[in-house]
């Protein structure tokens, strides 16, 4: 199981994350944040498709996405 | 403390003064008549563990100075008029960022390429800011080689005291003139910039040195802070009065010209003329109050400069409404002698 958290107030709706998402499950929502940008989301039913590659988090210029990956205790640290 | 006498040029005295003051970095670019300074520094500074860089331009040299002093060390650049024009960008940034750079200008003739002879044509540029924006430098105008040494040491102290760029305004006469000096070793405060310098944000919040103030009212506030600092600098005012007490005419002159005028005054005194010399040593802040005191006593004034009239405006502002100042401008392109000033002084005295 992985978890993706969007820090909506930081999102600028640039959609760069939608393109790099390995499973193409990130889409534009119909919500606006306080900055006035239309934020992105993953539909609840799509979340299980997420493989926690973290690419959306890596590409986001505004650090608006946090991706949690479940790992075995002994798995080496990702770099 | 070395009591040894040295026989050196003004340029060398400045370089020696900088070393004594603990200057750790020097950035320069060749231009006559100040080349002895970078040449001396390239030889001597590395021996003291400092860094000498011959920059690609005066623009770069002054910006290197900006960087070096932001790290809290004592550093200097020097040049002559056309090069000083190029340094104005960084000087303005240093003033805006409150950084203690020391800049030496061995003034030569202008405008443009002018000549390589002495001139005081850069008085306005030095004392009224010089670059863009509303700011001032502390400006020191040495008249002798010993004073060049002493004031260079003072320049570093003042720069750090006020976190403001300081300019030493000499000229081709001072730079090339050889005189005996007695060098002395000042005490250099350690860690004088500990509170503000950049050294990596370890165990404290990051520090930012900048001159950009965009938020509402921020720049106004910053300008006011600078203005307060300039007002405080008045404490540092220095000048020399020579035989002014009983004089009916005061000649106001600075730097090399002040020193040459002093010889003229001596000669004229021997002939019975009641003339004296007032020589501003800090050109900014300008010794206006002291001049005004003399003006109130009913004395006449003559300003002599090696240009067609710049400091005279500051003198006039200082002495009015009690007096007016006459003006004599020595043209660039030749070296004045004490004789050259006898006639204009007597003319002003008899007016």
């Amino acid at each position: 199981m992985s978890k993706v958290v969007f820090l909506e107030e930081l999102c600028k709706g640039c959609l760069l994350c939608t393109q790099v998402c390995s499973k193409k499950i990130i889409t534009q929502s119909s919500r606006f944040n306080k900055q006035g940008y239309k934020v992105v989301e993953i539909k609840p039913e799509d979340l299980e498709k997420c493989i926690a590659c973290g690419f959306c988090s890596l590409v986001c210029p505004d650090s608006a996405i946090v991706v949690y990956k479940s790992v075995e205790e002994k798995e080496p640290e990702n770099v | 403390m070395s009591k040894k006498r040295l026989f050196v040029k003004g340029n060398e005295a400045i370089a020696l003064g900088a070393l004594a003051a603990g200057c750790k970095c020097y950035f320069g670019y060749p231009i006559t008549p100040q080349n002895d300074i970078p040449e001396f520094m390239s030889r001597e500074l590395p021996k003291k563990g400092g860094a000498f860089v011959q920059a690609e331009s005066e623009v770069a040299a002054a910006n290197m100075l900006l960087g070096a002093v932001s790290a809290g060390i004592r550093a200097m650049t020097s040049s002559s008029s056309p090069g000083i024009s190029l340094k104005q960008e960084a000087i303005s940034y240093m003033a805006g960022s409150e950084l203690p750079g020391v800049i030496v200008n061995m003034n030569r003739g202008g405008p443009g390429l002018g000549d390589i002879g002495p001139s005081q044509g850069d008085y306005f540029q030095a004392t009224k800011g010089g670059g863009h924006g509303d700011y001032r430098l502390l400006v020191l105008g040495p008249g002798t080689v010993q004073e060049a040494y002493d004031l260079t040491i003072k320049a570093f102290d003042l720069a750090f005291k006020y976190k403001n760029p300081v300019m030493i305004l000499g000229d081709a006469i001072l730079g090339q003139m050889k005189e005996p000096i007695t060098p002395w070793e000042p005490e250099v405060p350690e860690k004088e910039a500990k509170e503000w310098c950049l050294e990596g944000a370890k165990g404290r919040p990051p520090r930012v040195i900048k001159s950009l103030y965009l938020e509402d009212g921020a720049l106004a506030k910053h300008n006011l802070k600078l203005a307060q600092k300039y007002a405080e600098m008045k404490k540092e005012i220095l000048f020399e009065e020579f035989l002014t007490q009983d004089a009916s005419l005061i000649v106001v002159a600075y730097g090399s010209i002040g020193r040459i005028v002093k010889s003229t005054i001596r000669t004229l005194r021997k002939q019975g003329h009641k003339v004296g010399l007032f020589r501003p040593i800090t050109l900014y802040p300008f010794p206006s109050e002291a001049l005004q005191v003399l003006a109130k006593e009913g004395k006449k004034f003559l300003t002599i400069e090696h240009n067609l009239g710049q400091m005279v405006e500051d003198v006039q502002l200082a002495v009015c409404p009690y007096a007016q100042t006459d003006f004599h401008g020595h043209l660039p392109g030749n070296l004045p002698t004490p004789n050259d000033f006898e006639e204009p002084i007597i003319k002003a005295l008899e007016k």
């Binding site: 959609l15 986001c60 990956k69 | 990596g200």
Partner: protein
């Protein structure tokens, strides 16, 4: 089982929204710089030299001791900082107008002297901050507000290839060009930044990374179209790769 954050936000990157336009690559470039600084354990000994351009507020985002350099002069300012404190880590972050136009002399000489500083060069082929004027890196044919008919080779010359130029200088220890248009290139960019920083840390010489970046606003494109432009128009003219590497890696 535990939870691990993928590509966690570096501590040295501030927790605040940036002023950058949506999709602007400056934010991404900042993040990569921050990651490398942390991986090399540098933040506490770093002095950042900011430049004039859209990244002028870099000190709001990278929590580092920072000095603002006049337009184009960051390499001279960095030279001064490093000569004053050779024990510190010093880098500049500059745009293409800043570095390749007004600051061309400073960058060339800084590199040629082999100053032990590193330079992160964001090439977005345009003057972003001032509203999209022609830059020295604007591609031939590219329209900007000061070459509305497109950059003309005969009139305005061809774009400067800075990574190649810097790579050809004796003092340079590392010079590379990377891009931020896709994940692979983003990861390569991070590696290149690390090598440019290590060139300084290992006292090898001057380190330089040119990063092909987008300015969607002034290119009048969506961020996704901008990424395509990097791939289709910029990379063919500005080839990616290393132009100098004396680090032995």
């Amino acid at each position: 089982m535990t939870e691990k954050i993928m590509f966690p936000k570096p501590q040295v990157l501030a927790n605040r929204p940036t002023h950058y336009c949506p999709g602007c690559h400056h934010g991404l470039a900042h993040k990569l710089v921050a990651q490398v600084l942390e991986e090399l354990k540098l933040p506490e000994k770093t002095i950042c030299v900011g430049s004039i351009g859209c990244s002028v507020f870099i000190y709001n985002y990278l929590l580092l001791d920072t000095i603002e350099a006049p337009h184009g002069r960051a390499p001279a300012v960095a030279t001064g900082v490093k000569r004053a404190r050779p024990d510190k880590f010093v880098f500049t972050y500059q745009g293409d107008g800043d570095l390749a136009a007004i600051g061309l002399a400073e960058i060339m000489h800084c590199a040629n002297r082999g100053e032990r500083v590193s330079v992160v060069f964001v090439n977005n082929t345009i003057y972003g901050m001032t509203g999209g004027q022609m830059a020295p890196t604007t591609l031939v044919g590219q329209k900007t507000t000061t070459c509305p008919g497109g950059r003309c080779k005969d009139r305005e010359g061809e774009p400067f290839k800075m990574a190649e130029i810097i790579g050809s200088l004796g003092g340079t220890a590392y010079a590379a060009r990377t891009a931020l248009n896709d994940i692979k290139n983003i990861q390569k960019t991070k590696k290149a930044i690390k090598l440019a920083f290590r060139a300084q840390l290992e006292d090898k010489g001057f380190g330089f990374v040119e990063i092909l970046s987008s300015c969607p606003t002034n290119w009048k494109m969506t961020p996704l179209q901008a990424n395509e432009r990097i791939a289709k128009e910029m990379i063919p003219y500005f080839p990616l790769g290393e132009f100098k590497n004396t680090l032995g890696e």
